[in-house]
């Protein structure tokens, strides 16, 4: 039966044509395609690994950043607290100083006032004394023009001194 007996002519041409096709495809066709696609596959694999690595780094970076922000925040609050205490100290010391100064000024003023008062009083006293002396002089000059009056005065003065003693 011719159906299952291979025909020589067809076998001959099949050999020739398949050899040519195989040569062409094996040399220029399939290795090129598989090579390129493998290259791309590798590239994609590498890119994925890179992306994973980048993501990991990014995650690390985010963690670091968070830590940094945390630290900064702590530092900030510490600095703020320090500043507040410093401010309080400064204010307190300034207040103390001011109080002391004020007190000093007040006492100095008081002393001045005291001294002014003293000198004023002294002046007044001197004035009064001078006035009294002048008045007394005038009085005495007028009184002593009469004789008995001079003795009377002397007596009175002596009495006065005596009673004072």
């Amino acid at each position: 039966m011719s159906l299952v007996t291979p025909d020589f002519g067809l076998l001959f041409w099949m050999t020739v044509i398949f050899a040519i096709v195989f040569f062409l495809l094996a040399k220029f066709g399939f290795p090129m395609i598989t090579g390129m696609v493998n290259k791309r596959t590798d590239y994609i694999g590498k890119s994925l690994a890179d992306a994973r690595e980048a993501q990991r780094q990014l995650r690390d970076l985010a963690g670091q950043q968070e830590k940094l922000i945390d630290e900064t925040r702590k530092e900030q609050s510490r600095i703020l607290a320090e500043a507040a205490s410093t401010r309080d100290e400064i204010i307190a010391s300034a207040r103390e100083k001011a109080q002391a100064e004020t007190a000093g000024m007040i006492s100095a003023a008081r002393k001045d006032i005291e001294a002014e008062k003293e000198s004023a009083l002294r002046d007044v006293r001197r004035e009064v004394a001078d006035l009294s002396v002048a008045i007394a002089e005038k009085l005495v000059r007028r009184e002593l023009s009469e004789e008995n009056k001079q003795t009377e005065l002397i007596d009175a003065l002596i009495d006065e001194v005596k009673s004072a003693q």
Binding site: L3, W13, K39
Partner: protein
């Protein structure tokens, strides 16, 4: 009556288009037969089923495309023969088309020896088969599909040469080819062979695409397709021999040890039962490859032809029966065509996979004990 026949013929012609499978000769042959019937009354236009089916799946010296108004439209292919007496002869098959004798050669008629082949008529009247390497229908189809295949694959590889593969991804036909190539390469070849895969990949890929494209072209019913190439034993024999050589030439020491001195009890080896079985196995493996592909594709073709033939066989049985069976035949033909598409892929896949497995077994390293 005549009108209904015309209708049935029209439906039949419709089937020819819609089933995407019909032998052109069937379209041509029954029509005149039916005209005869209507003219001569009771004379029946019998269809020679044997010739119809085997004429289709077999080979021919001309490529019959269709018949228009009783005149065959065919491509006459060159006949190349070498006679022992008169040497080489090259002429067009046009000269021997109707059983004529040309330069002492003619096509052997049915009943004669070497039926359907070119024979040399010797002076004493006896027939002798010359060395025949004519470009037959199958060879011509082989040339067309091979050109198509080379064009497809080289076009695909040219795309890769002209494009930066790291920046661009192929689309369209190149993308399709890439998908197929990589499917065969990764799923079949690499899985079965392992680290030597790149050495065998070109052959296995060529075999896959060669079988696949020829299977597909075989399903197309009109001119560039329609030849029954992968359903021809010569083609599958050649492919099986290729696989046989690929397995046995590059087989490693472990492979030969497994065949000649397998790891079985000595009494099985002393009387060389196991080596005998293994050596027979060496040949049955490619033989099964050959027969599987051949039988599957040929059977598919015969099934489709048979389904379409129902339309013509029932043409004389009245319009109702013919019409009904035509519809069934069309539906069944569509089903068969879809099935054949699956088989076309499946057989290419199976051939490649088994070849890969056989090659993989011949390259296996001994298991560490």
């Amino acid at each position: 009556m005549k009108k209904s026949k015309i209708i049935s013929i029209l439906i039949a012609l419709l089937c020819l288009c819609s089933t995407a499978w019909a032998d052109d000769t069937t379209a041509a042959e029954p029509v005149p037969a039916q005209e005869e019937t209507s003219a001569a009354g009771e004379q029946t236009g019998e269809i020679d089923m044997n010739e119809y089916i085997f004429g289709h799946i077999g080979d021919a010296y001309e490529w019959h495309i269709t018949t228009i108004k009783g005149k065959p439209v065919a491509i006459h292919l060159p006949v190349i023969v070498r006679s022992k007496q008169t040497g080489w002869h090259v002429f067009s098959s046009h000269h021997i088309a109707e059983g004529e004798t040309y330069e002492g050669f003619r096509i052997a008629q049915s009943g004669e020896k070497h039926e359907g082949k070119i024979v040399e008529v010797l002076p004493d009247g006896s027939l002798l088969k010359p060395l025949d390497i004519s470009i037959t229908k199958n060879v011509f189809s082989l040339i067309i599909t091979s050109l198509l295949l080379v064009w497809l694959v080289l076009g695909c590889s040219r795309w890769y040469r002209n494009h930066d593969v790291l920046r661009e991804v192929p689309t369209g036909i190149v993308g399709l080819m890439e998908m197929l190539v990589m499917m065969v390469y990764n799923d079949i070849i690499k899985d079965a062979i392992g680290k030597d895969a790149d050495r065998y990949a070109p052959y296995l890929l060529t075999a896959f695409f060669f079988i696949f494209i020829n299977n597909l072209m075989g399903i197309i019913p009109f001119f560039p397709g329609g030849a029954n190439l992968t359903g021809n034993i010569a083609i599958t024999l050649f492919l099986a021999v290729c696989t046989f050589l690929a397995v046995n030439i590059f087989g490693n020491k472990h492979y030969w040890k497994e065949i000649l001195w397998p790891d079985v009890p000595v009494f099985l080896k002393a009387f060389p039962l196991m080596p005998l079985i293994e050596i027979i196995g060496m040949f049955t493996k490619p033989f099964s490859l050959m027969v599987r592909l051949f039988a599957n594709i040929m059977a598919g073709h015969i099934m489709l032809l048979g389904v379409v033939a129902v339309i013509f066989l029932t043409a004389q049985m009245g319009a109702m029966l013919n019409g009904g069976l035509t519809i069934i035949a069309v539906l069944f033909g569509i089903f068969m065509d879809i099935l054949e598409l699956l088989v076309a892929f499946l057989q290419a896949y199976v051939f490649t996979m088994l070849s890969s497995v056989f090659i993989g077994l011949s390259r296996q390293q001994p298991e560490a004990e």
